[in-house]
């Protein structure tokens, strides 16, 4: 059936895979109507998809350095776009984003703008140049461009801080989904999640991660879009929700004022009875509810963070050429756009289906006892994601008496809207794919930086290929294990730590990376100062604000990257100008990076 090389048959292989997955969904739907239990369907969905990823991971095993570190630099444009989209869209994007929009409205959408706008910076400022450079990792670029172990080590430090903050959140998300779908305790589910992550990356490194990420993207995008379209059609809101929900958005605004949003406030004593982590609807759905600076500063941090996060950047090291790296960024953003533009629509549909008394699913205005008797309410109340309480004692559920967890928007809406359980199973598989793919990319980014930059380039430059690959795998295992152990402690929420990761990356790496290409005069001393002072000042600001500090410039703990990167830029420029300009060889190297033709600066195997 398949002849010739794997790379030449990609569309066919993933076409068959997609068809097979759709067939599996239909099979599950048939099983459901034949009486298979909801729990069993959930288990089948997660187990089936995860074992496919594991098989792909195993088939992609390799003993070659450039296959392990950069997938042999032969990933075609569109497929690299899909892999990057999966790499990028984390468990937070999949499970928590629609919920964030649902509860916080306009102010939260700064994240959507930031997480997409950052790709313009990636495409124009960095990706094609770093691809030309021919590095294996981001610190590899910093270390070679600026020269010296201190610069390399500083980059490894920033990378590790940022990516590790991010990866614990992803392993946490994998554990959450696995524990719900497989019905096992969270503490165990985290390690099952970790095992599946490691199977996908350990044997084949970047090559294995690339081909599993493409498979994961296909699962997650089907799992996200199918329910959105289905619910929209079922509610009669529109065949194509993205283009047709204007009336629904307006209707929510009407209902908000009808139900007294913002005028009826809950007392602190009442709120204390609401389970932790749940929130009520307190902000308007569509109207502008944030100051320009609050919106813009958050968007700026996410954009600069996107351009500095190593697990994204290293995806563009895997394309065959500079030209394809550039185009690949466009495809990545297109595939991300498909999901991000659907999240606000899902939030709208979800909110309206609960709020509108004209819909059969609407619960606001119904009697409390009636709502408490609903099957889905009981399910999600038990899962600690939904709560109602009759604060004013009138026996009717008011808007301010209904509370929900952010994850419920994605996880529970299909059930509320009356879709078959097979869709909920599909959504669980999609969430798992999203969290696993990002965790894979991050764990690999950290382990590769440590094995290539720290171990090979600094500690043991004479190490042989076989030894280097063993070290890389041992580190991968250790990093994953450390991430899972911290995730098992459940000390932080998913979304907060994701945003911090962007701020850390932006504080330390944004300007040293950009100026490395665009400012020939930039030298090692400046870059080191930029990375270390940027990271230190950003971290210090975060700790200060977390401990009750007042802050300045309206910078919050979510946007501390503004302070960090400002310090980074100033110190990098000042220190560079105070010290010697880089030598002629380095300047020639920068010239070489700026043109697509000719040999890469670093060799194919290095």
């Amino acid at each position: 059936m398949i002849k010739g090389k794997f790379i030449d048959n990609l569309p066919k292989i993933y076409g068959i895979y997609t068809g097979g997955f759709l067939g599996f969904i239909i099979l599950m739907a048939i099983c459901e109507s034949a009486g298979m239990s909801a729990k069993l369907i959930g288990i089948f969905f997660v187990a089936f998809t995860v074992s496919i990823y594991a098989i792909i991971g195993y088939l992609s095993r390799t003993l070659q350095l450039d296959a392990y570190y950069v997938a042999g630099r032969q990933v075609p444009t569109v497929f690299n776009g899909m892999a990057t989209a999966a790499d990028w869209m984390s468990g937070a994007s999949f499970v928590a984003m629609a919920g964030g929009i649902y509860f916080k409205g306009y102010g939260y959408m700064a994240l959507l703008v930031g997480w997409t706008g950052g790709y313009v910076l990636v495409a124009s400022l960095l990706a094609p140049y770093l691809r030309k450079f021919g590095c294996y990792t981001v610190p590899d670029f910093i270390g070679t461009r600026y020269g010296g172990n201190i610069a390399r080590l500083s980059a490894v430090l920033v990378l590790t801080v940022a990516s590790f903050t991010y990866v614990t959140a992803q392993i946490n998300a994998t554990g959450t989904i696995a524990s719900v779908a497989l019905d096992i305790p969270f503490g165990i589910a985290v390690y099952i999640g970790l095992a599946s992550i490691l199977i996908c990356s350990m044997l084949g490194g970047m090559r294995a991660v690339t081909w599993t990420q493409v498979a994961q993207y296909i699962v997650l995008i089907i799992a996200y879009l199918l329910p959105v379209f289905w619910i929209s059609n079922k509610m009669g809101a529109g065949i194509f929700p993205h283009l047709m929900l204007a009336d629904e958005v307006a209707r929510i605004a009407d209902l908000e004022s009808q139900f007294g949003l913002g005028t009826i406030k809950n007392t602190a004593a009442d709120l204390a009875t609401v389970p932790k982590g749940l929130a009520g609807i307190t902000k308007a759905h569509s109207s502008v509810n944030a100051t320009p600076w609050a919106f813009i500063s958050l968007a700026v941090c996410m954009m600069a963070g996107t351009a500095s996060l190593p697990h994204v950047m290293m995806r563009y090291f895997t394309t065959p050429s500079v030209k394809t790296a550039r185009r690949s960024v466009g495809w990545s953003l297109f595939f991300i756009f498909l999901l991000y533009s659907s999240a606000p629509m899902l939030a709208t549909l979800s909110k309206l289906s609960l709020m509108d008394p004209n819909l059969a699913t609407g619960i606001i205005g119904k009697s409390i006892s009636e709502v408490q008797a609903l099957d889905w309410y009981q399910n999600w109340n038990q899962a600690n994601l939904m709560f109602v309480s009759d604060f004013n004692g009138n026996g009717t559920l008011e808007l301010n008496e209904f509370f929900m967890g952010g994850k419920a928007v994605v996880l529970a809406t299909p059930e509320i809207a009356g879709l078959p359980y097979v869709i909920s199973g599909l959504v669980a598989a999609g969430g798992m794919a999203a969290a696993m793919s990002t965790a894979d990319g991050l764990v690999l980014a950290i382990a590769n930086a440590l094995s290539h930059d720290l171990y090979y380039k600094i500690i043991d430059p004479k190490a042989e290929t076989a030894k280097r690959l063993i070290v890389a795998r041992v580190l991968l295992f250790l990093i994953g294990f450390a991430g899972a152990s911290i995730a098992a402690l459940e000390i932080q929420g998913i979304l907060g730590s994701v945003i911090w990761a962007f701020d850390f990356a932006m504080s330390g790496l944004f300007f040293p990376l950009v100026l490395g290409v665009w400012w020939k005069r930039a030298n090692a001393e400046g870059a080191i100062a930029g990375m270390l002072l940027g990271l230190a000042s950003g971290t210090a600001y975060l700790i200060w604000v977390r401990n009750g500090g007042a802050g300045f410039w309206g910078v919050t703990q979510l946007t501390f990257g503004i302070v960090g990167s400002a310090v980074s830029l100033v110190s990098m420029v000042v220190v560079t100008l105070m010290t010697k300009e880089p030598d002629a060889a380095t300047q020639r190297m920068v010239d070489e990076v700026r043109i697509p033709s000719g040999k890469a600066v670093l060799g194919r195997q290095h």
């Binding site: 306009y106 706008g117 094609p128 466009g330």
Partner: protein, 87 residues
């Protein structure tokens, strides 16, 4: 002026144009959130502020990157710095 200097100058000009468009749709328009919301221009019936955050800016970024990639390829070709099709 050498070919390489000219190439870099053209590349830099393209960068400024790209970043200017990027700035307008990622930062510039959000200084005017309230004005956008009040605007009578409502794409597909959505309030303009809502539309830009859900789809508008996001879609423009996608188009912008492809436009930029095309332009840059033309610049590379013009000065003879594009890669040989090796694969």
């Amino acid at each position: 002026m050498s070919k390489q200097t000219q190439h870099w100058e053209a590349t830099r000009n393209l960068l400024w144009v790209t970043l200017a468009i990027w700035f307008v749709f990622s930062i510039g328009i959000f200084f005017f959130g309230a004005e956008m919301e009040a605007s009578s221009f409502r794409p597909l019936g959505y309030p303009l502020s809502y539309y830009m955050t859900c789809q508008g800016s996001l879609g423009i970024f996608v188009i912008l990157i492809f436009w930029f990639a095309n332009k840059q390829e033309k610049i590379d070709e013009k000065f003879g710095f594009s890669e040989k099709e090796d694969k």
